[in-house]
Subunit: 340 residues, 2 copies
């Protein structure tokens, strides 16, 4: 089925020049609206453009202004996490709507490995976009440094580490984790653990810090399972680890809803009833949280607003040439259901 059927290639500026009987430079001058082209040549070129079906290259036309009318949204996640992440879709939609209102085109770029990282860096430096929104950056991320070096207007979603030179928009992960853990403790749980994840980024570290804040003097590090990613598999493994370490555990804060889903499965397998024997809370308020059995108590992230706010902060920079000084925190909400 891949046998090619003959068809015309897209017309280039050379085709226009050949058809009009003029040099490529003359065509280029007409396309750029420059003077010193004879009326006869201009007419011949315009007729040739129509005849060969030449499509004006907007990307190239903007050489002088360095403006493309496009903003990149860069998602940097290993693939299992990307597919499980309930926030990325809403962030994309929020950013797309805000950029669309300003007639900018959102282009999303995935970084899944080092090859992607290098290619995306080249793309960002190539004049295809006027600014960038970075989702899920982590410590020592080469993309963040490349963007700073390019002086490209940019915003990170998620509070970056202290070295970052880029403005950001995020949520108060630490405060939200503290609030939901306090509420779990207030239901009478005495042995409360956490399945932590993503400790190589601010969200993971801050959620663990908030959990610790809530427990104060009764914090017990043996009741913390540390997992690499915010995944279902992390929840299954982490819950099994906590049940071995503390068979009397009666409450658990899972660092994300996907992690909570795995924890619920491990608890079913171990014959523990939720919430009768153990309370479980998550983080994200993904579409799954409402479908869980029992429905999951969790923290609602304002993902659409994060995308929209990031888009506004990038456009501010594109227009002003300035850079906002620091960051913005958006509000979260504890959503209490049946799992704790």
């Amino acid at each position: 089925m891949t046998a090619p059927t003959p068809r015309h290639k897209r017309a280039t500026i050379f085709d226009v020049a050949a058809e009009a009987g003029v040099s490529r430079g003359t065509v280029s001058r007409v396309l750029n609206g420059e003077p010193y082209v004879s009326a006869a040549a201009r007419e011949a070129i315009e007729a040739a453009i129509a005849k060969v079906g030449y499509v004006r290259n907007t990307a190239a036309r903007n050489l002088a202004t360095q403006s493309s009318g496009a903003i990149a949204l860069i998602v940097h996640e290993p693939d299992s996490v990307f597919i499980d992440d309930p926030n990325i879709g809403a962030i994309l939609l929020g950013a797309n709507a805000a950029l669309s209102a300003a007639d900018y085109q959102l282009v999303s770029l995935l970084i899944d490995d080092d090859r992607d990282s290098q290619r995306v860096t080249g793309y960002l430096g190539g004049g295809f976009v006027d600014g960038a929104i970075i989702v899920s950056a982590r410590e020592g991320d080469p993309i963040s440094q490349a963007i700073a070096d390019l002086r490209l207007p940019a915003v990170m979603i998620g509070r970056p580490d202290n070295q970052s030179q880029l403005p950001w928009v995020g949520i108060d992960n630490r405060g939200a984790a503290r609030r939901i853990t306090e509420r779990l403790v207030a239901t009478g749980r005495r042995r409360v653990g956490m399945i932590a994840a993503g400790l190589d980024r601010d969200s993971g570290r801050d959620r663990l810090a908030g959990f610790r804040d809530a427990l104060g003097a009764s914090f017990d590090d043996t009741l913390v399972s540390r997992q690499p990613f915010y995944t279902y598999a992390a929840g299954v493994a982490g819950m099994a680890e906590l049940l071995r370490a503390a068979p009397d555990i009666d409450g658990v804060f899972a660092a994300s809803d996907a992690v909570a889903a795995g924890a619920l499965e491990a608890l079913r397998g171990a014959g523990r009833r939720v919430p009768a024997d153990i309370g479980v809370v998550g983080f994200d308020d993904s579409t799954w949280a409402l479908r869980a059995q029992p429905a999951l108590s969790t923290v609602r992230q304002p993902a659409g607003q994060l995308g929209a706010r990031a888009a506004e902060l990038v456009l501010d920079q594109v227009r002003s040439g300035g850079r906002p000084a620091d960051g913005a925190l958006l509000a979260t909400e504890v959503v209490w259901r049946d799992s704790a």
Copy 2:
């Protein structure tokens, strides 16, 4: 926090010209590698580029060849569906990996409303991408027509309606729906209904046709609920409708896993046990299917392979200037778990 701190704007070709003391046209000729520039001017321009920090605009450099090194992946979904769709992430990753191996940059574009549709059409015609992959196109989609008009190399994911001029890659929705319905019937169910969705696109129509194929003479149209989108809400509403129409219903094929999730919730609310009272099957094998209570019997879509194959078909066209004649169907698998 948006108070701008002074910073340099990105350098343009005008800055280079001013610094070098030459015309913009001379800078342009040097950047394009053209002859007839004096050695002195060339040296001054190269020194000026380094001094002002001018970043070469790749998008513009490719004016003559009309090549950008980027391929668009266009997702056309209303937002509630986009967030719930378990396949899009895997399609993106599959396409990204295949394009990355060929040193092409994947750029994803969302179409959420008519304004997006018009802007994306302009972007595609603007020289920013060399080809396009279209996900979730539907009947009379203006983007498919615009791509055909632009003669842009393109592939649709999902079998298009007969009028489409574009090649495609998809799955055999009709055959897969027939197979899972037959298997449900083979478990002894006598009154089997369907919650259909997305009937304005091929996947929705073909899944209903496959359901009908499996039931043959015993097909009963009063046991089909027709819903607009593949969503949880559609499952809740559709299942309620079927329970009213046929209280003795003992099997249901939900057109997607998200629809099945809503159906399971409606059945819990109605006090029906799954699978004891009624068998439920879905379509997609989303990450949720395994987490469902009971775990969902469903059809596995090869989403990553769909993305990879689409990427290969676009690159074939970009390289050859030809267009493959028709489409490719990838294999699906019935995954039988506990819900039926």
